[in-house]
């Protein structure tokens, strides 16, 4: 097969949209990520940006696949696949031999178990509560007027961990405000917020059962302090990738390619 075919994957999440275009040698030739998921203009924008980056037009795309929370809101892709299956496919490619994938997205957290061939055998998702997800971190950052991208650097400066005991995101936000009012340092509060996310993630991982190697995907991987805390609690090395946020879209693109090869 000569490198003349292109495959597009789009992952429309609850908070972001991601698009990846791969060629028939699995090279990523275009990718884009934008804030704004289902119901926004971001899905079409990420597609256009990815095509521009790859210097392609939509006619050059052989097969496309949609995934993510908003996958059913677009009707122009050839296939749709659940985000868990796409994360498994993408994770297998980004982290060869991986057996456990932890994905913390905007409003859900998932743990995927893969067998030695990279096929998903089990998955666990958080329930309807958004505590322990990216949205929870956004809310906590909002509570002190910061951004979630600042959380990691605050945590690095922590000296102890302020206990955040509420399981509900709304009550946890009140708790953060109350800790700030009582004079607790911001880095210690952020460390507490991170530990709270780690608590929930660890329980999900333990429900699934952990098998190494372990990888983590989703936007929360950019929060290196949180990843370190999770590694420490699980006592495993967690592999991440600079393009871990694109994992779902990458899996969708690779799935589209596999359909072409069929």
């Amino acid at each position: 097969m000569s490198a003349k075919h292109y495959f597009l994957g789009i992952d429309i999440g609850s908070t972001t949209s991601k698009c990846v275009i791969v060629d028939d040698k699995n090279n990523i030739v275009g990718k884009s990520l934008k804030t704004g998921g289902a119901g926004t203009k971001s899905p079409e924008e990420v597609v256009q940006e990815s095509l521009n980056q790859a210097q392609l037009s939509s006619k050059d795309v052989e097969i496309s696949c949609a995934t993510g929370y908003g996958r059913k809101l677009i009707n122009w892709t050839d296939y749709e696949l659940s985000e868990l299956s796409c994360h498994a496919i993408g994770g297998k490619y980004l982290f060869p031999g991986v057996r456990t994938i932890i994905d913390i997205g905007g409003q859900d957290a998932k743990v995927l178990k893969l067998d030695e061939h990279g096929s998903m055998t089990k998955f666990i998702m958080n329930d309807k509560c958004a505590a322990g997800t990216g949205r929870f971190l956004d809310m906590m950052a909002n509570a002190f007027g910061g951004k979630s991208s600042d959380l990691s650097s605050y945590d690095e400066k922590s000296e102890s961990i302020a206990q955040i005991s509420s399981t509900c995101s709304v009550f946890a936000e009140s708790e953060v405000i109350s800790k700030l009012a009582s004079g607790e340092s911001l880095p210690n509060i952020v460390a507490g917020v991170h530990e709270s996310v780690v608590d929930r993630t660890v329980s999900l991982v333990k429900r699934a059962g952990i098998v190494e190697p372990v990888a983590m995907t989703g936007g929360v991987t950019l929060n290196t302090s949180l990843v370190k805390r999770l590694e420490k609690r699980l006592d495993v090395t967690i592999h991440t990738s600079p393009i871990a946020q694109y994992n779902g879209a990458l899996g969708a693109a690779l799935y589209a390619k596999s359909k072409f090869e069929e």
Binding site: S82, L84, S85, M120, T121, K122, F123, M125, K128
Partner: protein
């Protein structure tokens, strides 16, 4: 095939419009008595010449019931009480409520306190149903229940009438078991949604009429070869499945229940009443024979083994546990079923369901992924 579709259309209409059915019974001059979950001795109602009418909640939001129940209570009880408090069940001559879980116990008293126009028929059942004391307790309890039903139905139940009702119910249970087996393996003839409607309709019909329809269906289905088409054979476990959004998702992702462990479906028709002489002791003995069920004392967890056996014996590719939100008995068993399934290499997934949930997007993702795994 056309015969199947005709009968199914009629039963689907009834399943989706229970209010109309209730109005019809009242217009025909019948007395109707509400029957809550689980294992209610509704043969007593039938023997009294009244119509037993299933009250298992409804899809919607509880507003008035929140005065009596905190939000973390089972939606079947919340929505049943809501219907009572908003006068949707005023035509009932009585409401039988059992006590097999903590929420039902509270429900009995909340009904009594809040629903003035429909008398409570308190059906006290022991979870420890197989010990001698438990058996004696059920008989005494059913004796009281019989008295209360007689009062509500304005009819003294003879032993012969009760035996006739028991015989009819035994015949109906047998036909239901046959239907469940035939339908699950022929989803291309009768869809999983239609199968669920046929079962749901039984809660709102005179059992003699439902039995007649079942016989027609079973006869027609038995003429059709087993045919899964592109459906994936699974076992459904849990309390119930008849929430339209859930039925749609199971259909969309092409699951067919080749066997089920649902309290509202197979578990409800699992135990027949024996004929050893007196009808009432026989009826109470049938409750003592309920086993392998999350709702009764099950020290050896036969319920778990039963679900696994159902999957193995029926060549199911996986188990879907429809976990009723805030249902304690089921929440204790669900992780054990998942673990046992894992040990037997049977994929299993837990989907939380609730009559007041408006969005099932996460359930959709889980079921879609589970379908992809089974493929």
């Amino acid at each position: 095939m056309s015969q199947v579709k005709e009968v199914v259309a009629e039963l689907s209409e009834i399943a989706q419009n229970p209010g109309k059915q209730l109005d019809k019974f009242i217009q025909d001059g019948k007395r109707v008595i509400g029957v809550s979950p689980y294992h209610n001795p509704e043969e007593l109602v039938y023997a009294a010449g009244a119509i037993p009418f299933g009250v298992w909640g409804a899809v919607g939001q509880a507003i008035e019931a929140r005065q009596y129940f905190p939000p973390f209570y089972c939606s079947i009880c919340q929505m049943s009480l809501e219907m009572g408090l908003t006068h949707k069940l005023d035509q009932l001559s009585g409401m039988m409520i059992t006590t097999l879980c903590d929420t039902l116990k509270a429900f009995t008293q909340n009904w009594k306190a809040g629903v003035q126009d429909v008398p409570l028929i308190f059906v006290s059942q022991p979870q420890n149903n197989q010990c001698e004391a438990g058996k004696e307790y059920v008989l005494r309890s059913y004796t009281e229940v019989k008295d209360k039903i007689q009062e509500c139905a304005h009819h003294i139940i003879s032993d012969e009438e009760l035996r006739a009702a028991i015989n009819l119910y035994n015949e109906w249970r047998k036909a239901m078991r046959e239907f469940i087996e035939l339908a699950g393996k022929r989803p291309t003839v009768i869809s999983p949604i239609e199968r669920a409607h046929v079962i749901s309709a039984s809660y709102f019909m005179d059992k003699a009429d439902h039995l007649e329809k079942l016989k027609e269906l079973n006869e027609a289905l038995s003429q059709e070869p087993e045919s899964l088409g592109d459906y994936k054979p699974i076992v459904l476990s849990g309390i119930y499945q008849d929430i339209p959004a859930i039925l749609d998702l199971l259909e969309e992702h092409k699951f067919t229940a080749v066997a089920d462990d649902l309290a509202k479906e197979s578990r409800n028709v699992a135990v027949d009443v024996q004929d050893t002489g007196d009808a009432l002791p026989d009826l109470s003995a049938a409750f003592s024979n309920v086993e392998a069920d999350s709702l009764v004392y099950d020290p050896n967890k036969k319920h778990i083994d039963k679900v696994i056996s159902l999957a193995q014996d029926n060549d199911a590719k996986g188990i879907v546990i429809l976990l009723a939100k805030f249902c304690d008995p089921e929440e204790f068993d669900a992780p054990l079923i998942v673990k046992a399934a894992q040990e037997q290499n049977i994929p299993a997934v837990v989907i939380e369901i609730d009559q007041s949930t408006e969005s099932y997007e996460q359930a959709n993702t889980k079921l879609e992924t589970f379908a992809e795994i089974l493929n």
